[in-house]
């Protein structure tokens, strides 16, 4: 293991990152903590005063808070299931020796490069619009009533848009993992005459388990803070059907301009995110050992 000299050197090398990230975390955090104890509305900045935990009490007792918490978990959970499940299928398909493999891969990765705002706008206006969208046209051509996506199935619609953005990422990493499954294993399985399903469950799945945990970890970090897609498509509604925690904080910060409430909401969100994080690290961390 590391000698004394290298471990000292290691500290020096790690220091810049740690210091920078620490500052980036602690300065806003301290300011936010401070603001969260104030009555501070941007629109009424002369009237700042200390209110203790009032902002927290208001944020936590807001009936929308609980539904936002549930919405956040539903959104993260559904997108994870769809993108990982779909990602495995797509990766399995892409791993086949098919004609035009490279072109295929390019097409599958593409959505990952699209800005969230753009993809939300495109899905909302060009595809899912119940009147002039492409899906409505397909439904009508098949003699069905077009689905009114963002009104009748708001959360599902948001989940579809977000899953579309993250499916490529999952597929890509899982594909990489699949490709490292060595030929010998594959051939051995073939010789054993293993069926497709047992082969998948006993050989493929364990092999890509680590890749799956990595996908879950990275995606969760980003999915916890999904905002643009909701803002563009449903504006958190109808009612609060698609309001997640970031959107709730956004409402306080940039619609009410209530810095105190938004700061309290921000702190609550940080705490919740860290609970999820600890939970995740437990699972993932173990899987990443060694």
């Amino acid at each position: 293991m590391a000698t004394q000299q290298t471990s000292a050197a290691a500290r020096v090398l790690v220091a810049p990152s740690v210091i920078l990230l620490f500052l980036w975390m602690i300065v806003p955090l301290a300011m936010t903590l401070y603001f969260s104890s104030l009555r501070y509305s941007l629109l009424d900045a002369e009237n700042i005063g200390f209110v203790g935990f009032q902002n927290y009490a208001a944020f936590l007792s807001d009936p929308d808070f609980l539904s936002a918490l549930v919405n956040t978990l539903v959104l993260v959970g559904s997108v994870l299931v769809i993108s990982v499940g779909g990602g495995i299928l797509v990766a399995l398909l892409m791993d086949q020796p098919v004609f035009g493999q490279n072109a295929l891969r390019l097409m599958v990765i593409a959505p990952f490069f699209v800005m969230p705002t753009v993809s939300a706008l495109v899905w909302k206006n060009l595809l899912m619009n119940p009147d002039s969208g492409l899906f409505a046209w397909i439904a009508r051509s098949l003699g069905m009533e077009p689905v009114v996506w963002f009104t009748n199935h708001p959360m599902m619609s948001v989940v579809i848009v977000v899953s579309w953005e993250w499916l490529p990422f999952a597929s890509l990493i899982l594909l990489t993992a699949l490709q490292s499954l060595d030929e010998e294993q594959k051939e051995a399985a073939q010789l054993d005459g293993a069926g497709a399903l047992p082969y998948f469950f006993y050989i493929v799945l364990p092999h890509i388990a680590r890749a799956i945990t990595v996908v879950i970890l990275i995606e969760t970090i980003f999915l916890l803070s999904v905002f643009a897609e909701i803002y563009v498509t449903t504006g958190g509604g109808p009612g609060v059907a698609t309001t997640n925690i970031p959107f709730l904080v956004y409402k306080e910060a940039l619609l009410n301009f209530d810095v105190g409430a938004a700061s309290a909401g921000g702190i609550v969100a940080v705490i919740l995110a860290n609970i999820v994080a600890i939970f995740l690290m437990r699972i993932v961390g173990r899987n990443l050992e060694g």
Binding site: L21, R105, M115, S225, A253
Partner: protein, 276 residues
């Protein structure tokens, strides 16, 4: 499963793969096609797929209204610049964590990742006030700095997982030969780490390119990247789908092209150490 397949099965798999890929890609293709339509064709029912009056007027209109190149330039500078600096800070840190891990290295990594979980909108006002006082509002330096910090945890983590797979024996050998720490990093480690570094950089650039909260809120005009360009095309009065499609195509084209050209590279490093 790459078992020997009958020709029929092979055709079936090929068709299925193409179908899936096409469906995933379709929204982008549709946006691209719409950008060449007139506004009335864009909402025509039944939809016009290929046989419409192809026009470049949306692109002309977009270019007349906003200086695309300025936004694109800012996007490039911000995403490349910020992540290059991020890389300079992250490489030593990841190296040290991978080759001289302490007891707390894992915790440190996880803590770094957890800084990404702070909801941006909750700390907007503090950061805005800081930026105002430091004179960093609407400056490439300020926004670049934020983007760098946003990606730093991911960069470190990706590099760490990549470095961990580099066999330690080689480093030991180099050390025996009396290579200094710096030389060890420069001449032994770096060449081996280049693929990982490259794909890390690529992923980080993509993430910065698409970052739409801080860039929109902290930049106004001089430092405004393509996310701000898009914000001037969403939901104006009147028909806007074709123009929006043109603007969207322009906004994602550079990163799409970069992503496509470097696709193989990206795949190699995106493993996060998950592949053995």
């Amino acid at each position: 499963m790459a078992m020997k397949q009958s020709p029929a099965k092979r055709v079936g798999v090929t068709v299925a793969a193409w179908l899936v890929a096409f469906l995933i890609f379709f929204p982008i293709l549709w946006t691209f096609l719409t950008s060449f339509k007139s506004e009335l064709d864009a909402i025509a029912m039944p939809p016009k797929f290929l046989f419409f009056n192809w026009t470049l007027e949306n692109y002309a209109e977009v270019q007349e209204r906003s200086n695309y190149l300025k936004y694109a330039f800012n996007s490039i500078v911000l995403s490349v610049g910020a992540n290059f600096v991020g890389l300079l800070i992250a490489v030593p840190a990841a190296w040290a964590m991978a080759f001289a891990p302490g007891k707390r290295t894992k915790d440190l990594l996880m803590w770094m990742l957890s800084t990404k979980m702070m909801p941006a909108v909750g700390v907007l006002v503090p950061i805005y006030l800081l930026f105002r006082d430091l004179g960093l509002l609407d400056s490439l330096w300020g926004i670049g700095f934020v983007l760098m910090l946003l990606n730093l945890p991911i960069i470190i983590w990706m590099l760490y997982t990549y470095f961990k797979e580099i066999p330690v024996d080689i480093l030991e050998a180099a050390r025996m030969d009396g290579a200094s720490l710096l030389n060890e990093i420069l001449y032994v480690l770096t060449p081996m780490a280049v693929p990982g570094i490259a794909s890390t950089m690529l992923l980080a650039i993509i993430l910065s390119w698409n970052e739409a909260f801080w860039t929109l809120n902290l930049a106004t005009s001089n430092a405004a990247p393509l996310t701000a360009f898009i914000a001037s095309y969403s939901a104006p009065e009147g028909f806007f789908w074709a123009k929006l499609s043109a603007a969207s195509t322009l906004a994602i084209a550079p990163i799409l092209v970069l992503g496509w050209f470097s696709q193989k590279q990206l795949v190699r490093g995106l493993t996060f150490g998950a592949v053995k």
